[in-house]
Symmetry: C2
Amino acid sequence: MISVSKENHLKAIFHLQQEKGLVTTNELAAALQTRPASVTDMLKKLKDQKLLIYERYKGFKLSGEGKKAAVQVIRKHRLWEYFLVEKLQFGWEEVHEIAEELEHISSKKLVDRLDAFLGHPETDPHGDPIPDSQGRIHSRRQVCLAELPLNREVQVTGIASQTAEMLEILQHNHIRLGTRLEIKKKFPFDESLEVKIRNRPLVTISAQVAKNVLVKDDEPLAEKR
Amino acid sequence: MISVSKENHLKAIFHLQQEKGLVTTNELAAALQTRPASVTDMLKKLKDQKLLIYERYKGFKLSGEGKKAAVQVIRKHRLWEYFLVEKLQFGWEEVHEIAEELEHISSKKLVDRLDAFLGHPETDPHGDPIPDSQGRIHSRRQVCLAELPLNREVQVTGIASQTAEMLEILQHNHIRLGTRLEIKKKFPFDESLEVKIRNRPLVTISAQVAKNVLVKDDEPLAEKR
DNA sequence: AATTAAATTTAGACAAATCTAAATTAATTT
DNA sequence: AAATTAATTTAGATTTGTCTAAATTTAATT
Ligand SMILES: [Mn+2]
Ligand SMILES: [Mn+2]
Ligand SMILES: [Mn+2]
Ligand SMILES: [Mn+2]
């Protein structure tokens, strides 16, 4: 059986190995707010269950099975977040904690029914893609605002680092998920940007903020045949 | 903290003590499908947390605190069951197991939002009352069909024992929650009943079935001033 | 009242998940 | 290459929840 703690480990490993291929013990311990020794203990158990490819001192990554399990947890997490925001009127900053619990409810049928009830949403309230029932993830061509060319209207689809301070400044500038905006001017001196938000006046944002705002071209997919 | 296992114990004790005032170790072990020795272990922990009034060999019952905690778990259980049936199209016979997990999600705000989202339902899909946010339970004047007088139209509000066999026979006779019916004839020989279901032909049901069908007078509460 | 049976608790064990402190291996610096 | 530092693992302990088997208490019978 895959316990709650194992699911949390699988999910964290999945996210960490997206960046670099292999994950290290210390990284995982930091991500899970636990101790390296505890991680090592868990790694052995996951390896025994063939969910993890792991040799001591060598780093590790999920097996095919492990990846499948992790994606199902992520699917549940994001669907529940969507439910909390869209149906129960929660703010997007308060749903993560609750979804951290809900993601461990085991019924597969429940998840699929929830998915249908919500109308098969593509992304969670933070703009992250929701894996489908078979574990496929529609990866999105997301770029960070800092890398966007001038005068190209896009939609905000994600926030990379969600600290309270970060959210505060976004709120202040009327930037949130779904906001449509384009870059009007870039200042090489400090790499700050002047941004036009649809239906709003111009605002200036710093390079630090721009790096954390993820956007996607707004083009409707079906239109292009 | 109140763990999942503790919550399950509190809830089971609450239900058992409704009938008789005091609960016994064996009873609780049977209800939870565990061993008497395990129950004793847990009783000590619950007593230490002042959730339980307990003296060894003497039986036990919930303290005020314990009752409060149990009712909150029951509230969550029944709200989630309602959600599963009304929003996710589950059958009433398949929701209990899933709610057994969902009832342990801790966020109080989540429960209250869910309650509002569902329109503050009064009873769960099995006809059992849903405690309100403050833990108040609107107790219902439920009687079993076997005790109902002739020619009094009532509404089915609960099924006492929900085995698959039981549900099959009810399904066959078109009796379900909310069904309006009245007793037309009682046969003393075997205590079977002839029942008229609103908008349907007469059916005959056995004493065994009648004992497990719970009904409530249909009178609208507000009308009586 | 003595005996037997049933219910309950205690004693001791085990698995899961975590921790601290110490040992080991790997990586980095001199 | 040797020494130092950092990362990782092992050893041993702890907590929680559960179990079996044995002991104890209470209840029921003879
Ligand atoms: Mn979690
Ligand atoms: Mn999210
Ligand atoms: Mn439960
Ligand atoms: Mn119910």
